[in-house]
Symmetry: C2
Subunit: 387 residues, 2 copies
């Protein structure tokens, strides 16, 4: 029997898009060199500053979030510069490889999957660098592959003391998890539109601190597409150096309006609640979080050690119970599954995801008591509502 | 704190619309006297025949489902005709009033709220009518206000024996609950697009048996808008007597395609599963169904006796837990609440609705054990999946 096509997308991006966002993309095409475009671009860029918590300009490139990795590096560094890449999972590894591929002298500081980066260890490593050879530190705000959030504020303190630029990949963090670009002193913050910003993929969004923009003035790295100076020069006229992804910008405007209505603090609180509900549910099923220290567990995605083959689990959850869960990446592919709870996702969706997970596990012979996960998450929600 | 605007609409219509249906309405406007319209109208009308299970033409009027009540009566009857209106709830009462207002000699056979119509009682009443004065019997397939489904097949047998026309309001039934217009011998079946047909409101859809169409030839009731003969004549050219609701027809085409993919039997099975899940959950909360005999309880909407003020319950469910439940109508307004589970709704949505109901009750001081309702519904779902 065919099922009605309606499933709940609970992966850590791309995330579900609100109907207002979908509707926004149906607006007529416009001249990207005209006033209507400039008004749109100005509005979106200005709204983004509030989400980044920065007074600096925010640049929007048509592209994947990963493009921000390259943009961060090629704009602020010089050929052969030393870079400390801090990796706590697959996305840390990927950014590391990008830096290697671009010819930088990359040193990797790696933490085992499930652990957050230790700010002390970073501070110690930087303290050893008395000649200040390290020009940049790369880190994930939230490591999507392991469901762990780094203490970016503490890491920023250590990096500030040393003087290197701190570059933060907040693809699965920005909008969902607290981040204060200016207050914490972050030099580069990059994200994509398809996570907590509730848009379809296709926009790479990045902001640079004054320090980073000063470094960009002296950067001798060859670049065209991701050239900050060209983007900055165009931005003065609310323009872009090449054709912008117009419909996606309409989408982003609608999404940012939704976020403004909720308030950014409201979104952070919602994601914290969903993270707490999800973890309570997972533990009630007798499962183990990949996050070793629960205080570092992500509020935008929960990684869970799978008691059965995660591919089978996800297949049953999807085909029989209509919930799309995520698998693990890299070495974790056979060990974990992930529940995404960021963007246009609400606490009720977390209940559905937990119920589906529980039923799928039962179908696969795991000894779970049906209903316990949802009940545990309901209790968290009720306590939240009661304040 | 503002919440993210995303709530689950669990009322018995209007029901949620699938994104494919929403997208279909964004198609460019077209000339309703051109070939493109005729092709659209032919396709939708033909697909509807399969949902009505009839070889007769199906007529689509721009209008509310309630317009079908008038269309059924003014096309097939004559001024002053005797009509037996069978009422098991608020919608039965409303159709009754329409018949009175149009000047027919209406006799009402009423059953108390929560009960289905007794086919025996209808048969007995018709048997008394030896002169065959009663020209039509009016009945709801599914009484939306009480969550009770009538045994239309058995009632049809009784009416066929007498010879009156049987007119069936299947606004909250068609597409969700089994109905066989030709096989059961129903003379008029009417519905709206905004229930199991997963469209926005605005289309009144009605089919007439050969008997009913023959009666229409002799009907002397004054009419214009709802004139079957005009509609029928236009339909021969896949046209309409006046401007059709074009965007809604695009929507209906998309919805019927979804229904075809699922299959009509698949939709019936999904609604039966959702009804069973909802009732299991409601009973696990210790609440009482309004349906006196559970075998007559509706699989498209569940009416529940509220242990607290239903308005307060619905407010908490909506504002704190993001689920929109329905209230009672008429005399039941202070006594019941209703959970709609028809149309573009899946079993996971029923879990969310039950969780929200349970938490809202707990917030209002009702002694419910958090998680029991969802667990009971999960068990039903798992048994269904296991076959």
């Amino acid at each position: 029997m065919m099922r009605m096509e309606k499933s709940l997308l609970m992966i850590p991006g791309p995330t579900p898009i609100p109907p207002q966002v979908a509707a926004a993309m149906t607006q007529p095409m416009l001249n990207h060199r005209g006033e209507a475009f400039s008004a749109l671009f100005a509005e979106v860029s200005t709204k983004l500053q509030k989400v980044f918590r920065t007074a600096q300009p925010v640049y929007i490139f048509p592209g994947a979030g990963s493009g921000g990795w390259e943009a961060a590096l090629v704009n602020t560094l010089n050929p052969g510069d030393a870079v400390l890449s801090v990796s706590i999972g697959d996305f840390g590894e990927r950014w590391h490889k990008v830096a290697v591929q671009l010819g930088f002298a990359v040193e990797r500081l790696r933490f085992e999957p499930g652990r957050a980066a230790d700010p002390e260890r970073i501070a110690e490593r930087l303290a050893e660098d008395r000649e200040r050879r390290i020009k940049a530190v790369l880190i994930q705000h939230n490591e999507t592959s392991t469901g762990v959030t780094n203490d970016v504020r503490a890491i920023a303190r250590a990096v500030r003391e040393h003087g290197a630029l701190l570059m933060v990949d907040s693809v699965s963090g920005l909008g969902a998890l607290p981040l204060e670009m200016d207050e914490w002193g972050l030099d580069v913050v990059l994200t994509g539109a398809q996570k907590a910003l509730m848009c379809p993929p296709g926009l790479s969004i990045i902001a640079f601190s004054e320090r980073a923009r000063a470094a960009a003035e002296k950067s001798a790295m060859p670049k065209f597409y991701w050239d900050l100076k060209a983007a900055h020069s165009s931005l003065q006229k609310w323009q872009t150096p090449y054709t912008p992804a117009i419909s996606l910008l309409h989408a982003l405007k609608a999404a940012l309006e939704l976020l403004e209505t909720e308030t950014l603090e409201g979104s952070w609180a919602r994601h914290r609640l969903m993270g707490e509900m999800c973890r309570a549910g997972v533990k009630a099923m007798g499962l183990r979080l990949l996050a070793v220290d629960e205080r570092t567990a992500s509020n935008s995605v929960t990684a869970v050690v799978a008691p059965v083959d995660p591919k089978r689990l996800r297949k049953v959850a999807r085909e029989q119970f209509g919930v799309e869960l995520a698998g693990g990446q890299g070495d974790l592919a056979d060990q974990i599954f992930r529940i995404g709870h960021l963007g246009y996702v609400v606490p009720g969706d977390v209940l559905q995801a937990l119920a589906a997970t529980e039923m799928a596990l039962a179908q696969l012979g795991v000894d779970v008591q049906i209903g316990r996960a949802v009940a545990a998450a309901q209790e968290v929600w009720m306590n939240h509502v009661r304040g």
